[in-house]
């Protein structure tokens, strides 16, 4: 569909989470016209997910950190919207960004589930603030109802004020687990234990980085205090290696891990529970970026993230990125990067303090990523019949056959031989696990022609 120059914004920001929101309001402060395109109905992304207005939550901040700063930024967004400087394009799921002769075209499907229609937004420059999704490592029983993503449990609690059970074990690795366990306990769940596959000693190996980030220490201490208040135990160097129950979770087996995350035989303990919230950190969402040709790098946590220069520019001219897309680092860093990108987009020099904060928080992100990076022995807890690809129901045994007997050495070949990664989620959930089983050493940034499902009818419509 043709686009007139008057409809072309100075900037399209994709994603209204901490990075995108900060970038959009700062860019508008600096005089740019902005289209803030987001899949949700309200700003905040996954981090600042909030109950829908109909739920009448008087204190949504009870489920959030740094709510005040977010609320002020959201209020600035409202001012810019009213003044016509920012167009907040809600419930738009972006499936591709393409370079046209004189602008970038942002292609989206619309509606809560992306099933309502199709739309296009034009802009002279693009900022990708696409965030991240949770990394999952499969284990026996993880497809049983009652096993949910740790981030998923958090999202459902924040948005819908619901929990998957009454007695919820939280497991996996990474700092998100502490926040999730704290929220679930504060909301009334009994959380018998948080099970961390790594440990927290890794942070101590970066003492200068820690000392330079006192707010992170305070955050960690706050989580620890919350968990103490609700009597939540923390077990490090351990993992859930089995889930029990026929149609839903009745108990899990907690097993000690060695340094390489191999289960230590004979250490399994059965923990009764009716739900398990599990996750192993976050994976940057890069589909739009890689489709544009942006270069990626390997992060200390084994994920792929965008290569960015000091001004948040990707390797593709005209495309900036901020937040988790440049490497998982949390909301505080995302906000700083969003603001930095906005300064560069407006051709203004940011303050030195902002640059130093970004660098300091990036270093902390690196220490965090290293402390919780999955160790290679995790796959020893898989049984031959453990499903790895949830969509196509492909077991670890079939993937190992493809690798050992048929010579597959990468996710693409495993996919062709077994269908792992070929289903609805397009390998977002099983990707990291399949890559490990295939023996890939470099993380392949997801390459998906469409970043979200689009019907043939919508594609055919012009």
């Amino acid at each position: 569909m043709p686009i007139s120059p008057s409809d072309t914004h100075d900037l399209a920001v994709i994603g209204a989470g901490p990075a995108g929101l900060a970038a959009a309001v700062t860019a508008a402060d600096l005089g740019l016209t902005v289209a803030l395109v987001d899949a949700a109905a309200r700003p905040g992304g996954q981090f600042y997910r909030q109950p829908a207005p109909g739920l009448g939550a008087a204190r949504p901040q009870a489920l959030h950190h740094s709510w005040g700063a977010f609320a002020r930024r959201a209020a600035r967004l409202d001012v810019h919207r009213a003044a016509g400087r920012v167009r907040h394009v809600t419930e738009h799921h972006v499936w591709a960004v393409t370079r046209e002769s004189a602008h970038w075209a942002v292609h989206a499907v619309t509606g809560p589930d992306g099933a309502q229609g199709r739309a296009e937004v034009a802009a002279r420059k693009v900022l990708l603030a696409t965030g991240a999704y949770e990394r999952q490592l499969p284990f026996p029983g993880w497809t049983l109802p009652g096993v949910v993503g740790a981030g998923g449990a958090q999202a459902m609690l924040k948005a819908g004020l619901v929990m998957p059970g009454q007695r919820i074990v939280v497991a996996g690795s990474g700092p998100l687990l502490l926040a999730v366990a704290g929220s679930l306990a504060a909301a009334g769940a009994s959380v018998p234990v948080v099970v961390e596959a790594g440990g927290y000693a890794g942070y101590a190996r970066a003492p200068r980085t820690l000392a330079a980030n006192p707010r992170k220490l305070v955050e960690g201490a706050a989580h620890a205090a919350t968990l103490r208040r609700y009597g939540v135990r923390i077990r490090t160097h351990s993992a859930i290696t089995a889930v029990h129950g026929t149609d839903r979770v009745e108990a899990v087996t907690l097993t000690r891990l060695d340094r390489d995350w191999r289960p230590v035989a004979g250490t399994g303990v059965r923990v009764p529970c009716d739900a398990l919230a599990v996750g192993h950190g976050l994976v940057p969402q890069l589909d739009l970026a890689t489709a544009l040709g942006c270069a990626t790098r390997r992060c200390p946590d084994g994920t792929a993230a965008l290569v960015l220069d000091g001004r948040q520019r990707t390797t593709v001219d005209g495309v900036w990125a901020a937040g988790e897309a440049g490497g998982v680092g949390g909301a505080e860093l995302a906000v700083v990067e969003g603001e930095l990108a906005a300064y560069d987009l407006a051709r203004r020099a940011p303050g030195g303090a902002l640059l130093r904060r970004r660098d300091r928080l990036r270093r902390f992100a690196g220490a965090m990523a290293a402390a919780h990076a999955p160790r290679a022995g995790w796959s020893d807890w898989l049984g031959a019949d453990t499903e790895v690809c949830r969509c196509e129901e492909v077991t670890a045994g079939r993937i190992r056959d493809a690798v050992d007997d048929l010579g597959a050495r990468d996710t693409r070949t495993v996919k062709l031989l077994t269908r792992a990664g070929m289903g609805w989620c397009q390998g977002r959930v099983c990707g990291p696990a399949v890559a490990h089983l295939a023996g890939e050493t470099e993380p392949a940034a997801g390459r998906r022609l469409l970043a979200c499902p689009v019907t043939l009818g919508e594609l055919a419509r012009e």
Binding site: V148, G151, C425, V429
Partner: protein
Amino acid sequence: MNRRRRRTPAALVRAAPGPAFEITLDGRALSALPGQSIAAALWAAGVLSWRTTRQSGRPRGAFCGIGSCFDCLATVNGVPNQRACLVPARPGDAVTTQEGHGRADLTV
């Protein structure tokens, strides 16, 4: 009797939701609150699965909670493959357990 207010998600954020309404799952009436997704309404009713897999017919429900895993696909008002964690519940919605790809009507 413990008179202290029980900890609940709604109490935590001091929610005063609009009036509850009814949706159905396979004909069974369930209560939903305005603003809740279909998945949230089902969780609130203690329901964790509303789909069976294509190959082995195993039960599935919400997993990632943010629309990226597609495990929570449901048939809502006759339309299959809707992400229950994203689609808001509306009064009178008829959710049916989705079997396999949800397109049995197209089978020849």
